[in-house]
Point group: none
Chain length 205, copies 4
Amino acid sequence: MPKDKTKTYQRIIPCAKKEFLDKGFEKASMRTIAADAGISAAGLYRHFKDKEAMFEALVSPAVNGLKELFLLAQEDFNKLPKDNKQETVFDYSSDKIKNFIAYIYDHFDDFKLLITCAEGTVFSDFIDSLVEIEVKYTLKFIESTGNDALTSGRATPELMHIVSSAFFSGVFEIVVHDMTRESADSYIERLRRFFLAGWNTILTP
Amino acid sequence: MPKDKTKTYQRIIPCAKKEFLDKGFEKASMRTIAADAGISAAGLYRHFKDKEAMFEALVSPAVNGLKELFLLAQEDFNKLPKDNKQETVFDYSSDKIKNFIAYIYDHFDDFKLLITCAEGTVFSDFIDSLVEIEVKYTLKFIESTGNDALTSGRATPELMHIVSSAFFSGVFEIVVHDMTRESADSYIERLRRFFLAGWNTILTP
Amino acid sequence: MPKDKTKTYQRIIPCAKKEFLDKGFEKASMRTIAADAGISAAGLYRHFKDKEAMFEALVSPAVNGLKELFLLAQEDFNKLPKDNKQETVFDYSSDKIKNFIAYIYDHFDDFKLLITCAEGTVFSDFIDSLVEIEVKYTLKFIESTGNDALTSGRATPELMHIVSSAFFSGVFEIVVHDMTRESADSYIERLRRFFLAGWNTILTP
Amino acid sequence: MPKDKTKTYQRIIPCAKKEFLDKGFEKASMRTIAADAGISAAGLYRHFKDKEAMFEALVSPAVNGLKELFLLAQEDFNKLPKDNKQETVFDYSSDKIKNFIAYIYDHFDDFKLLITCAEGTVFSDFIDSLVEIEVKYTLKFIESTGNDALTSGRATPELMHIVSSAFFSGVFEIVVHDMTRESADSYIERLRRFFLAGWNTILTP
DNA sequence: GATGAATGAGCCTTCATTCAT
DNA sequence: TATGAATGAAGGCTCATTCAT
């Protein structure tokens, strides 16, 4: 199962992307992909173990890359001395979010696939997996700063989950709606401030 | 195609709900629904033109009801004299949102179906359709108040779309996660404040 | 899933038999059966849950009938007072074996299918299942007569299994080789005497 | 197509045996064999024309060896002066049968393959081919001794076929059931006596 | 000797739907 | 109203085999 080199493999990739994008994972047809790539359906299986593996090949580099980026940033942020945590929570730190968006634009098609066509695959809960990471680190962060949001009941894991989920959904709208990079920068900045203000309603008594 | 009270029809409805909830629209099986309802698969077609029509029968009352409620509220809100618009934007007006949530809980199962099982149907963009309404009215509202958010570039239709989308996604998490009514009230209130604060970053210079 | 009546069903049966007979269970093709029967492949599944169920429909009446006959005969034989058990062991009692053979000829095709084409189905161990019944009852019989074959080591379950297996294989050769009923009667009688003599080498010290 | 001692060839053989033993001829996978042997599927075809040829390479030495042994023994036996044929028929001569069993144990795996995994190959009738040889020589033998079994109708080629078939099935149960050499000796001796007695019911008026 | 690639035929099964009854 | 029967299309996938390199 070669990951590259083959001309055929290179030809399959865009055909697979197209088909998954058109129909979503479940309704995408291996036969159609094969036909588009000019090979037999069986030929596909020389390059990918099965349909899911094919989808994975398309999106997992982007998924892993983004997750790694995200995790590292969270870790870095958490290591800062308390006083340097100028921004309330990580995701709303301007620097970090810019890297995040940049990564998305570097793999735009992959994220389009991931966000809009992954139902039926292990990736269907991608956003949720980001949310979980975020919530985990945010809880840590709140505790470490001694903020009373949790003890006072202003914040609960569930609310944080909802808010985080809303935020990431918001972010990935740039993908859903094919925003240009330029527009995205400006909108994301607004979104950032928006959620920052929101978080302050939670974090400040 | 009788939409009415046939005993059979009444028996089909819950079976269909169950199947769609279990498997989602596309993977739901007409045969299974029929079997559960104690009739033949063909019998289903006396009551519903096709699978999609069946799904529609389940969710469209709730969809229409909520949209109507939403639209009327927006209209009402817009008719207020400028000075009485105490809240920044409709959705974050405490009263209105309470009605909205109440309606959801009055048709909880239907919204569960709509939110989690509609991929592949015309209803898959339900949240988006709410968002569009909201954006339309919010634009009107901003213009009518003379706020400079739009002219200054702090707000654009696209940002508003993103934010609104995030908000409604947040709201419908109560359905996705089967929150109790009680929990929901508290979380929604937090969410409301959260977004209210966010909107203020847009609406105030 | 109607077991009869339908004209189509009646048309499928011989086509299925033919295909299974030609190619054996595993290589038999549902498509071919359907085509022969003049219906679509999908149509088959209206009448049989799956390929295995189809095979079962063909052979299980015969299987059950023969097993029942066999079991009842064994039970009857076992109930006889010791002194009336003139023959050494059941299978070699002339009466019983004749019924057995008669039953086979009454369902000759079914047993042909069963013996020659059942690899890959639950029926692949049909002969073995007869052997097991036989061995069980023969053990009982030997014990009940006080014969010392077992205690002396002249007979062991394993030898009995081998011998019994050889016997039934011998019997079903009439099916494998399409013997006429007439020939079979004579051959089976010889076989019977043959094994009777053999058993005597085991049962008499 | 080198039949010889290539290292690769030597590596393939046990892998092929394993796969055929596990799944039977038809369900065995060339790919799996190749993978086990550490080569590509295509590589197999340097060494064997096709799947069947591969199977043949595994079993035909044993098959030929046993057949040769068997034929020679039959010939030898037939050359004896009438009076020296102390045993009724060949197979039940203690000496010969011991050689036969010894040969089987010297190539146990090969016979396991042959007996339990040959469906779908030309070897599926291996036992039958032994039976045919046996019947041919037994007929010769009976005629040469002037025994009236044939003319009286007590023996016919078909009965002899059945009986012989039953016998060999019995013999090869030692392979099917993985009997130890020790157990086999004792069971085969019993089986021999069993069939000897049986034959006497045919050969003696 | 060996391989990666490719193939074509085939597998069983499921589906929503239609239609005569 | 309801149904049993039937359908065509499609589904993903596996297989032994071939062939250029």
